[in-house]
Symmetry: C2
């Protein structure tokens, strides 16, 4: 962890993402230009130097490169790739955090590989089995954080509790909510509704000391009743992808209508874009996609595979804020406290 006042050092997987390395390096340049982070790019040096040469200012920016000769591709088995490609950009970038040379790692590459690399090289926080991803929901309601939207499927009851703790810390630190409310996503408001794991998680949450308000339903997500909504990663993944896609389908509907009623349609589209965030919704996936990988012992920021330079800069800034707020440290201490109190 960097000391206060020092620049936060971010290791960037320069070869991960649909538009790597071009857009990733460009995003790193944007972030470095703001002057409050130091960037370490991981990738083949010749490639990185060629990309950096495109920006006349890059020599004066706090950016350095480290050699990583291999790349993990989107369709590779994450576990195997991490084991065999020890010189891959994601592994090299992650190890910079482990060795203390960087404070956080950012990757737009395969989420599975980033998670596998983090598990292997940074390890999990005690009491957690697999990393989770928390998604801030934007557009239609007050600040709400949904955990897990990552790969935690067939969750055990205890995992829901760890999601609730992670989400509460996020809501405290990022939303500045003193005592965030926690809702358990289920098929009905009453205790006893939902899957077996959810029903068991209900009791754990009720006795957790968190500000648990009980079950919430799909229709409650944007109501603001719960600042933190916890769910199995399968449900969260489907929900977030569904929501992110709606803006695009809505725009398609508008485009078709515009053809049918050109004047009314055009005015509506213009005004609608001004006053209602449908297009923002459409691109929420690229702007806000990904998030912190919760549960690994270090700051790992996942960016959307399809993201471009501004979004990489955004992910780098988000990683910096996570380091500054010591969110991972808070999660570790709160979980340790909870485990001690509950003799786990």
């Amino acid at each position: 962890m960097s000391e206060a006042g020092k620049r936060v050092r971010i290791a960037v997987d320069a070869m991960g993402g649909d538009y790597a390395p071009g857009e990733i390096v460009k995003g790193a340049v944007y972030a470095a230009q703001k002057g409050d982070v130091e960037i370490i790019l991981a990738g083949p040096l010749s490639v990185l130097e060629g990309e950096l040469a495109k920006y006349s200012s890059s020599n004066d920016l706090p950016i350095r490169c480290v050699e990583a000769s291999e790349v993990v591709k989107e369709n590779e088995s994450p576990a195997l790739a991490i084991r065999h490609k020890r010189n891959s950009s994601i592994v090299i970038a992650t190890k910079l955090v482990k060795s203390g040379e960087a404070d956080a790692v950012v990757s737009a590459g395969s989420t599975g590989a980033t998670a596998a690399s983090a598990i292997v090289y940074l390890g999990m926080i005690e009491g957690l089995e697999r990393p989770a991803i928390a998604a801030p929901l934007k557009g239609l309601g007050p600040d709400t954080i949904l955990v897990d939207i990552g790969g935690n499927v067939d969750c055990k009851p205890y995992q829901f509790l760890s999601f609730a703790i992670a989400g509460s810390i996020y809501a405290k630190k990022v939303f500045n909510i003193a005592n965030p409310t926690v809702g358990l996503l289920s098929t009905g408001a009453e205790q006893g509704k939902g899957s077996e794991a959810v029903r068991e998680a209900y009791s754990l949450l009720k006795n957790s000391g968190l500000n648990f308000i009980g079950n919430v339903e799909g229709s409650d997500i944007f109501s603001g009743r719960a600042n933190v909504i916890v769910c199995d990663g399968f449900v969260g993944n489907v929900l977030i992808k569904f929501y992110e896609s709606l803006g695009i389908y809505a725009l398609d509907v508008i485009k078709r209508k515009v053809k049918k009623y050109p004047l009314a349609g055009s005015i509506a589209k213009l005004l609608f874009n001004r006053i209602f965030p449908v297009t923002k919704l459409a691109y929420a996936g690229e702007e806000e996609g990904g998030g912190i990988l919760w549960g690994v012992d270090g700051v790992v920021r996942i960016a959307h595979g399809a993201c471009r330079a501004p979004h990489i800069a955004h992910a780098i800034a988000s990683a910096r804020n996570t380091v500054k707020a010591d969110i991972v440290g808070s999660l570790k201490s709160e979980l340790a406290k909870f485990r001690a109190e509950n003799k786990l």
Copy 2:
């Protein structure tokens, strides 16, 4: 089953629903006025006669009443209520189907009680364990049917297959699609993604003889790639409630913006309502909520608890169409064929 040309006979649980009996009886009158159904109302005779007396034409309509002195309330345990309240309106209405006096039953009462009553008095089709609910998705994409949105949680792989068969029959009979595509909702496109049950269901679906196109993600739901999307009832329930709620939250956002920019906001709202189905989306829950209870050996049409007369009339018409198209008969024969072919 009624013969061709004869009126379809619909038993209506007159005491089920937030606005029962008033709106239910009114909806039954609307449906009967169209002349192609015969209605049998179940409820306390004195109450029903009082309601019917409000409509001068009701004496000439094909509506009759049967005594049912008890009511199952929303918060009662469905299984217990069905066992103990044998004279409840839902039990009496369901038994009219069993005895052959009615071709279908419609209820806006507790979904759990309606399902429990159907399971006990009509029984399940061979090979199915619990009823499923299929929801046609409206608004942003081509005709798509989602199964299950009902109470089937912790689904076994075989249940996904039964959802796929039910959904395919729905798409054939209602959407008139000759060979509907079936997608399995999961966290990634590749086989091997998702929960254990989904991964096992993948193999079953692949070898089912259905037009299975593999996994679909949350972002594919409105793409039209799959005419039928199958998922665990937990996921479907959360998704459909989330989607149904979006129109209401979107309208709230517009209302707030209208206050801020009155002229632009008002024009946008007006035009938007004209060209984009946001308000329809908002009320999709009431218009289209509920659906056929798939898997029970008879036609049972669930209506939304909050529905009013026009929606009850719609649910009655939908039940009539289900009887006419012999959808339950098709499901029985297709499932029997599948079980024979796969030696189940």
